[in-house]
């Protein structure tokens, strides 16, 4: 048998993706396009939150949406019908997350129509999307009340990379053992810089603040 030769590599598996993501961010800066990566568990209300919020800002800035799912195009169709803005569906081919290369392919295919803001609705999952930088300018996540206030303790990485945490479905707070103050404290433990906004996609409560955050971030990015 041939003697075994060892080739040392010592390289993080995420290194290539991190490089692609940084490059994509630089390009987006040049083009003046703000990309938001929106993450959450399945069923937390991402699509409903987006529809209402987009309707608040679509007359002020140009918005486009990329929906990422393992299969189907129900979300992309729903967004297009409810808001009239360009929206495309990305299929991850069974993968539980999007990476920077997939995001770039999506951006190349969406008719941005000179979009100022592109929102990427990532696959519903609190683990994998947190590990793969998509090249987005900001990361946001939605945590809904029925999921529990202890999620930041269980999914530390997700909360540590998010700039904004929307606590959704606050209309059902009276029926759940969800402590909003405790939740904020847990988020702060993971990430002191993260902003927490309580919202309700169904009633619209708090979405003005989310809309304003988006407008401010986009303006800042385009400066």
């Amino acid at each position: 048998m041939d003697p075994v030769k060892v080739i040392e590599i010592k390289k993080s598996v995420f290194a290539d993706n991190d490089k692609d993501a940084d490059e994509l961010r630089r390009e987006l800066k040049k083009r003046g396009v703000f990309l938001l990566n929106l993450m959450s568990s399945p069923g937390s209300g991402k699509t409903t939150t987006l529809i209402r919020t987009i309707n608040l800002i679509k007359d002020k800035i140009r918005v486009a949406v990329m929906e990422a799912d393992i299969d189907s195009d129900v979300d992309a169709v729903k967004i297009r019908e409810a808001t009239g803005i360009p929206s495309i569906q990305l299929h991850t081919g069974g993968m539980c997350h999007l990476d920077a290369e997939m995001t770039r392919q999506g951006l190349d295919n969406v008719d941005l129509g000179g979009a100022d803001l592109v929102i990427l609705e990532n696959v519903g999952n609190l683990v994998c999307p947190a590990e793969f930088d998509t090249g987005a300018v900001r990361n946001a996540m939605i945590l809904s009340v029925p999921e529990g206030d202890d999620k930041p303790l269980k999914y530390p990485l997700m909360f540590s990379i998010c700039d904004l945490v929307l606590v959704n479905k606050i209309d059902v707070l009276p029926w759940f053992d969800f402590d909003l103050e405790k939740c904020k404290e847990y988020v702060r433990m993971r990430n002191p810089k993260a902003r927490v906004l309580p919202v309700c996609a169904k009633t619209g409560e708090g979405l003005d603040a989310f809309a304003q955050w988006l407008l401010d971030e986009v303006r800042e990015w385009k400066r």
Binding site: V4, K5, V6, I7, E8, I9, K10, K11, S12, V13, F14, D16, N17, G94, M95, C96, H97, D99, N125, V127, C128, E131, F132, L157, M189
Partner: protein
């Protein structure tokens, strides 16, 4: 559940290194996986078997996993402690001003050819 995606990244990197070194077949890939990296070694090796055997370069290639113990450092008392056992709170002084020193690695250490 993200292990398969990670396996595809490993395969991409190993293929590139093999090409650069003019290697025709790789017999083992050695990984350093941190204890709190959220990668489950058993799932990783299962996914590896399935995906690696589809590549001529990696047929029968073994994936060896070294676990890197997680260690947290306390900024207040400047001591280290085991992350998995004590979590975020320093067992020496009770401070929460702590950060992960190591243990979240997902690294390809080396390959055997």
């Amino acid at each position: 559940m993200h292990e398969l995606g990670i396996v595809f990244y490993i395969i991409k990197d190993v293929k590139q290194v093999a090409e650069e070194n003019h290697v025709g077949h790789v017999s083992a890939v050695v990984m350093d996986i941190g204890e709190v990296s959220t990668v489950v070694p058993e799932y990783l090796t299962d996914c590896w078997r399935w995906a690696a055997d589809k590549e001529e370069l990696l047929k029968g290639c073994e994936l060896k996993v070294n676990t890197v113990p997680a260690v947290t450092f306390c900024d207040d008392c400047r001591q280290e402690y085991e992350t998995v056992r004590y979590g975020r709170k320093c067992p020496h002084c009770g401070s929460e001003h702590t950060w992960l020193l190591r243990g979240n690695e997902v690294e390809i250490k080396e390959i055997e050819v």
